[in-house]
């Protein structure tokens, strides 16, 4: 099976008045058709920016560079803006974090749903209307015909997020970027939305890139996972491996800072310190000021991507020959 999305050495920098902010620092990953990939990390580690970069939605002062960025063999970086527009929404769609503000308040749900459909699919009014109502039903909105004519302010957060998902899926995209789609929702709605996405993914064979800082949500949703820190991929593997056998100290920290259902602990262990200021990155491994197993070499050089098994890579000196291979 060939890769649907190939990204190699993606860099996104923001040229601000205070200096250059490296938001994404050379990430590479592949995504297969129908596969779901999770991206985890703390706030500000470049998860969302990476996905927006792939959709080329980063405007000035941001700057996107990559060695390769292929969607189904098409080079996304060299496409004209016009071609890119026809891909956005049609081949790649984005679900935003905040359902309360992601719908335009002056238009009805139906109008907004129809817009994408008519932009890309060339259907007439009647057809696009039927299609949107069908989409609303597909995402489990009751009274779809009525909701079609309603304005966003009369819908609840969960309903709006469903409408957003309906909108994103209306052109049957090859890839769906979901940027923390459940963070703003309460837990019961969260579960419903996750089930819905899982179900739709299986039915429409869409690849999903699922961004979250919640490992619990991620582990339910995805096949493979990338752990990001300061714009770099620090660990990538299958989700089962990551949960059972995390390697990078940052991943271990993330897992330890989460309460577990069947294990009773007195205190959760947070990761000490904060994400460093991107304008003032620490030398060497960006995680070293917060790392418990820090060594001399960590402060000097950025670690390389080490292979643990064929499907498990980690960027940490603890696992490299050069760093002494402290851990197996």
């Amino acid at each position: 099976m060939s890769d649907l999305l190939q990204v190699k050495n993606l860099y996104t920098r923001f040229h601000t008045e205070d200096g250059v902010v490296p938001a994404v620092n050379g990430i590479s990953f592949n995504l297969k058709r129908g596969e779901s990939l999770g991206i985890v990390g703390e706030s500000g580690c470049g998860k969302s920016v990476a996905c927006l970069s792939i959709m080329r939605l980063i405007g000035p002062p941001g700057q996107v560079e990559a060695e390769t960025m292929l969607l189904d063999g098409t080079d996304l970086l060299s496409l004209s803006e016009k071609k890119m527009r026809s891909i956005r929404g049609n081949d790649m769609a984005f679900i935003f974090q905040e359902p309360m503000t992601s719908l335009n308040p002056v238009y009805t749900i139906g109008f907004q749903l129809q817009e994408a459909i008519r932009l890309h699919q060339g259907l007439n009014k009647k057809q696009s209307q039927n299609k949107s109502i069908e989409m609303l039903k597909l995402v489990g909105i009751p009274r779809a015909e009525k909701v079609f004519n309603e304005y966003p302010h009369s819908l609840s957060g969960g309903m709006r997020q469903r409408a957003m998902i309906a909108m994103a899926l209306s052109c049957e995209p090859k890839i769906l970027f979901a940027d923390e789609p459940t963070t703003a929702l309460d837990v019961t709605i969260q579960a419903q939305i996750l089930d819905l996405m899982q179900d739709l993914k299986n039915r429409l064979n869409t690849s999903i890139v699922f961004i979250s800082h919640d490992l619990g949500v991620i582990s339910e949703m995805v096949d493979r996972v990338i752990v990001m820190y300061c714009g770099m991929i620090v660990e990538d593997t299958a989700i089962r491996t990551l949960v059972k056998n995390p390697k990078h100290p940052y991943t271990v920290g993330l897992i330890n800072s989460k309460p577990q259902l069947y294990v009773e602990v007195d205190k959760l262990v947070p990761i000490s310190g904060n994400v460093p200021n991107p304008l003032n990155m620490p030398k060497g491994c960006p995680y070293h000021p917060r790392c418990n197993d820090v060594m001399d070499i960590c402060r000097k050089e950025i670690p390389k991507r080490e292979t643990i098994t064929e499907d498990h890579h980690v960027r940490c000196w603890l696992f490299s020959e050069q760093g002494g291979k402290i851990k197996p």
């Binding site: 016009k82 335009n104 308040p105 002056v106 009805t108 109008f111 015909e145 009525k146 079609f148 957003m164």
Partner: protein
């Protein structure tokens, strides 16, 4: 081409309401605003007065038996009588007739000038707000320049150079008042640009034109509408001032401003009140009622004032 324009100018508040055969009432933003506006008594009085003024102006030929410019040299400067309710002017023309017809001109100048400034202001403001960077800088510096001229001096100079006429009056007022709208729209666009639904529209493949016209402008419509209303009142005042000075609408075409013109003489001011009181009052009441409507709109459109 027609269909293109129809789609372009479709009322966003009505969007989708007639798309399906659904009988249940949907509370559109338009309906909500109308409901709130109706509850505002002062604004309703204002709109009623304005409506009366407009109807009087439209029905002018029906309401008076006299010709607009008919000179009657036997009846010069007559005080109000049963034949001439508002008296006559220096040429013996019926003043009620001239005030009614003057309303047509004054209100039209106000409306056209305000629409003109709105078009220029929205265009410049949205370009500045959307594109930012050097476009923004250039447009805002032009705005600063226009604002920093003493207004009446510039208007008078322009009227003197272009020559006084109705159309030039509209043009001058339009070209000198767009700055407020421009700054307003720019500010609105700067904040709307950051909204997530704009990012969402971009991510579903909307182009720049569509983004500006269909997604951002309708969200900035409320303050634009309010400011256009208030500027219409200002435009009526400026027209009156220019016409009073003889630089606006030229006789024999009447406007409330140039009917006032004889009031430049002290004798008229002291002894012949019927020459200047009615047009003065009409200017006052129309400006007041438009301002009341504007304030009412502001209250009805302000999302922070949820009922």
């Amino acid at each position: 081409m027609n269909r293109f324009f129809a789609r372009l100018f479709r009322n966003p508040f009505k969007m989708g309401s007639n798309d399906t055969n659904n009988n249940e009432a949907v509370l559109t933003p338009g309906k909500i605003i109308w409901k709130r506006f109706r509850r505002n008594k002062v604004a309703m009085i204002g709109s009623f007065i304005l409506l009366v003024l407009i109807i009087l102006a439209i029905l002018a030929p029906v309401l008076t038996p006299y010709e607009r410019d008919a000179i009657d040299l036997r009846n010069q400067e007559e005080p109000p009588t049963a034949e001439h309710f508002f008296g006559t002017d220096r040429q013996g023309r019926d003043l009620l007739t001239r005030n009614l017809y003057g309303g047509r001109i004054s209100l039209t100048v106000g409306l056209v000038a305000s629409s003109l400034q709105m078009i220029i202001g929205v265009l410049m403001g949205s370009l500045a707000g959307y594109y930012g960077r050097w476009v923004d800088t250039v447009i805002m510096r032009i705005t600063d320049m226009v604002i920093s001229f003493p207004f009446l001096a510039l208007a008078i100079t322009a009227a003197a150079i272009l020559g006084p006429s109705i159309y030039n009056t509209m043009l001058i007022i339009g070209l000198l008042t767009w700055t407020e709208t421009c700054r307003l729209v720019r500010g609105q666009f700067l904040s709307i640009k950051q909204m997530e639904y704009i990012e969402a529209a971009k991510s579903s493949g909307a182009g720049e034109f569509r983004l500006i016209w269909r997604h951002m402008l309708p969200n900035a419509l409320a303050p634009i509408l309010i400011s256009a209303t208030l500027i219409m009142a200002t435009a009526i005042l400026i027209e009156a001032a220019l016409s009073y000075l003889g630089l606006g609408v030229q006789p024999p075409i009447p406007s409330w401003g140039n009917i006032l013109e004889p009031a430049r003489s002290m004798t008229v001011l002291m002894n012949m009140w019927w020459l200047w009181l009615p047009p003065g009052f009409l200017i006052f009441i129309s400006v007041l009622s438009i301002n009341l409507v504007g304030d009412g709109l502001r209250d009805a459109l302000d999302p922070r004032l949820k009922n």
